[in-house]
């Protein structure tokens, strides 16, 4: 990272100087400056709304002309991008400036084959012979690690997985050999192991082809691992900039420090202290809870034994759960870990009674859930609540927050009207939301606030067991930290038992006591979190652990991760 002093060095590929962007009267980016040298990589980090994507759009000249005004200087190879007429800028698109979008599924045209769309990118090479173009496309598809380029070439986007689509997009981006690639959260829609493979591939390609990278991400761990220098943004202004090493090991500003503290991989023991207090005296809070709950003295709150579930999809049988067993003690947190398709979601749905298992036994708080009538399952659900993965879809957009949180009370017929109102207020207060949100609709809340509403809704009936289905995967890292803080506080205060479903091992290490690793419907490894993390037995678990950014001292990084852990522990 070069500071503003030496931006006149002609070696800089991209120079941004005093860039300010406003949508109408509202300024969203204030006086941002940075520069990126040929062959280097730079990461823009910030939360949603920090203006990082807006800056990327300004560099790519994708801002809506009529609504946004950009002032300042954005120079690519010394030519001012902002001032260039469209006719002169267009040849730069693709050839000089490549773009990898965030969501691969929506960036490709669903009704055309990959090959047909790749020809558009290949046309930028100036090659007119379709056969030669095809050859080049197949070459680049192979280069990005797609196993069967010819099949991919003839496929439609829906026939490929998310990871494959992202590879296709990267292939199309590097095909015209741009000198700069702008990648907007290129892996946030993908599984962790796939994320690692994609980032590795991108790093390799970059070195091979000498392409510069402008990486936009909210994940400091990824940024530090993959970029030479960082620019930390908050509310559209640069908080801190410098080399990845410097910022990561010794953040100067409060904001950068808090971002660093929120990276789960660096602080495996962040919530440990809070929880062990409870674990030491497990019955402390339980006593004050409703007698019906406390009287059940079995230690196991969730007991799943040999559960199997088979789905038939598209003519063939899929074994979603194959003899899955796990158990969770009262007041503890158990994590189910696995990638998409590993069967963790099915296991949760079986537990909640949304699906019936083909075989096996599930009991919650000593009561078996299988083979029960609808009314009995409903009774069990009172003690078993779920917090969904995506707070943007789990709250009815037409309902005000107060009614959403009151819904379980209304449906289970708990208390009188004033009592319910009081409990809704308490629930909202306990998740740290002001009382006035009760009258607002979900659309007026941020992602973190919505997830707090979802948690309040789950807790308002005072359940014993809460299933957390990737509760933070749709949220920013710093918001995630707030939610985890809240969940661990509530667990301590209410003696809750959590089943935490996640693909993020770093997160699991922070919050869980025990863990089951799922793969293709089977538990491949289970045990205490410390054991699994320090002595993984199964190769799949090792692969998952390796995919945590910065969890292991990666060769590319040298010792950053190892060193970063020292000051981190001190602050935690």
């Amino acid at each position: 990272m070069k500071t503003r002093k030496d931006t006149n060095v002609s070696a800089d590929l991209l120079t941004v100087e005093g860039l300010s962007i406003a949508y109408g009267p509202t300024a969203v980016v204030h006086d941002v400056s940075f520069s990126l040298a040929q062959g280097e990589s730079l990461a823009l980090i910030g939360e949603s709304g920090s203006g990082k994507s807006t800056i990327a759009k300004a560099i790519l000249r994708l801002l809506p002309h009529s609504e946004a005004t950009a002032t300042g200087r954005v120079a690519l190879n010394g030519r001012d991008v902002l001032g260039l007429p469209e006719r002169q800028f267009r040849p730069l698109r693709g050839r000089e400036l490549g773009f990898i979008p965030q969501d691969p599924a929506s960036a490709l045209n669903p009704v055309r084959t990959i090959g047909a769309q790749a020809h558009e990118a290949a046309a930028l090479l100036g090659e007119t012979d379709p056969a030669v173009r095809r050859g080049k496309i197949l070459d680049v598809l192979e280069q990005v690690g797609l196993p069967d380029p010819v099949r991919v070439y003839d496929s439609y986007p829906h026939q490929l997985s998310g990871g494959m689509l992202q590879r296709v997009l990267i292939a199309l981006t590097v095909l015209p050999r741009p000198s700069l690639i702008v990648a907007d959260e290129p892996t946030s829609a993908l599984d962790v192991t796939v994320q690692k493979l994609i980032l590795d591939m991108l790093t390799e390609l970059r070195q091979e082809l000498d392409i510069s990278l402008l990486l936009i991400t909210h994940d400091l761990a990824i940024a530090a691992e993959r970029a030479d220098s960082l620019v930390v943004l908050k509310d559209g202004a640069v908080q801190e900039s410098g080399s990845s090493w410097d910022i990561f090991t010794a953040p100067q500003t409060d904001y950068a420090r808090s971002l660093q503290a929120d990276v789960p991989a660096l602080h495996p023991d962040r919530y440990r202290a809070q929880r062990t207090v409870f674990a030491a005296e497990p019955t402390h809070d339980v006593v004050s809870r409703p007698a019906a709950v406390a009287s059940r003295s079995t230690g196991l709150q969730i007991d799943v034994q040999g559960v199997t579930k088979r789905f038939s999809a598209g003519g063939k049988d899929v074994l979603a759960c194959d003899g899955v067993s796990f158990a969770v003690e009262r007041g503890r947190t158990h994590a189910l870990v696995g990638e998409s398709g590993s069967g963790k979601t099915t296991a949760v749905r079986l537990l909640l009674g949304l699906e019936q298992p083909d075989s096996g036994r599930i009991s919650v708080a000593g009561q078996s859930t299988s083979g029960r009538s609808r009314a009995e399952v409903r009774d069990i659900r009172r003690h078993l609540q779920l917090v969904y993965q995506n707070p943007f879809t789990s709250l009815d957009p037409t309902w005000p927050v107060g009614r959403i949180v009151r819904e379980p009370l209304d449906q289970f017929g708990v208390g009188t009207k004033p009592e319910r109102a009081r409990r809704v207020e308490e629930a909202l207060a306990s998740v740290g939301l002001p009382t006035d949100v009760a009258s607002r609709r979900p659309a007026h809340l941020s992602g973190g606030q919505r997830q707090r509403v979802a948690i309040a809704r789950a807790l308002v009936v005072r359940p014993d067991v809460v299933v957390l289905d990737e509760p933070t995967s749709a949220l920013d890292v710093s918001v995630q930290a707030g939610i985890l803080e809240l969940l661990s506080k509530l667990q301590r205060e209410l003696g809750l038992t959590y089943l935490f479903v996640s693909h993020d091992l770093a997160l699991v290490r922070q919050v869980a006591d025990t863990v089951s690793v799922l793969r293709k419907g089977q538990v491949v490894e289970a045990g205490a979190v410390e054991d699994i993390f320090s002595r993984p037995q199964h190769t799949y678990t090792r692969a998952l652990l390796d995919s945590i950014p910065l969890a292991t001292p990666a060769a590319a990084l040298g010792g950053i991760a190892a060193e970063a852990k020292q000051p981190a522990k001190a602050t935690a």
Partner: protein
């Protein structure tokens, strides 16, 4: 009937501008609202707009051309055509409203049931809707009026029945979209039963497009009922349904205003309603 009309219509008028946070709707939409407002007032308080009688006329001034005294001219009995249009509004608008309500209510129930239950319910109701769709709507309406009797209210019922299929289809599609939403599943986990999920979550999230269609269908219904009245399938004279006015005016080639004036009123009303419907669809 007029009371229901006023409530629903005025509620539409009152609630739509509130939804707009970014200033006023486009000028054409405002104009359309003005037209619809005038039409509603015509049907509610025709006396305010004309002091002339639609039934008795002055035969001395029959077939007079439009003038300051008679805006739309006079017919073969010397009755003021403007007064007849204004007084005929109530019947035309009310019957269109009845038609829309029939289509909306029956269609929505069918759509809700088949979309939410699925399975054999969907199969049976779906084929019923297919049959309705297979018969041209206007033809179906003609058949129904022929069997029920030549009255405007029967024309309205017929128009409503022929619109059921469209409402059912749209409602079914919307319900199926919402049915799979996470918040519906969440409501089961919160102890809700299926009826609660249907009325509490599915319906409030599914009805908007259907309401937009209802506004559009209101315009179409005015047109169909006017066509039926034109063919004599409505109330007989001296009623002055808009369609009937066009029909009776067409005999007098020398007095083209007898056709053009009510026809223009029909066209303007239908276009205004369509414009509002399109605006509602985009605004939601």
């Amino acid at each position: 009937m007029t009371a229901i009309l006023s409530n629903t219509q005025l509620r539409d008028l009152g609630s739509t501008p509130r939804k707009l946070t970014a200033g006023l709707p486009p000028a054409t939409v405002l104009l359309s609202f003005a037209v619809v407002l005038v039409v509603i007032l015509w049907s509610l308080v025709p006396g305010l707009f004309t002091s002339l009688s639609p039934v008795t006329g002055d035969t001395a001034s029959k077939l007079a051309a439009p003038s300051a005294a008679h805006w739309f001219g006079t017919d073969y009995l010397g009755r003021d055509q403007y007064a007849r249009v204004v007084h005929g509004t109530a019947s035309s608008v009310t019957s269109a409203l009845v038609a829309v309500l029939i289509g909306l209510v029956i269609g929505s129930i069918i759509g809700l049931a088949s979309g939410f239950r699925g399975g054999w319910v969907d199969a049976v109701l779906g084929r019923f809707v297919d049959v309705l769709l297979a018969i041209p709507g206007f033809l179906l309406a003609v058949v129904i009026v022929s069997s029920l009797g030549f009255q405007t209210i029967n024309a309205a019922i017929a128009t409503g029945v022929s619109a059921v299929a469209v409402f059912a289809r749209l409602m079914r599609a919307e319900v199926m979209r919402v049915r799979g939403a996470t918040y519906v599943e969440a409501s089961y986990l919160q102890g809700g039963n299926r009826l609660h999920a249907l009325l509490g979550h599915v319906l409030p999230n599914a009805y908007r497009s259907v309401l937009v269609l209802a506004v559009l269908q209101f315009g179409t219904s005015i047109l169909i009922i006017a066509s039926l009245a034109f063919l004599g399938y409505g109330d007989p004279p001296p009623a002055s349904d808009w369609g009937l006015l066009v029909a009776s005016g067409k005999t007098y080639v020398t007095a083209p205003w007898l056709v053009y004036a009510p026809a223009l009123v029909i066209v303007t009303t239908v276009l205004s309603v369509n414009r509002i419907s399109r605006w509602l669809r985009n605004a939601k």
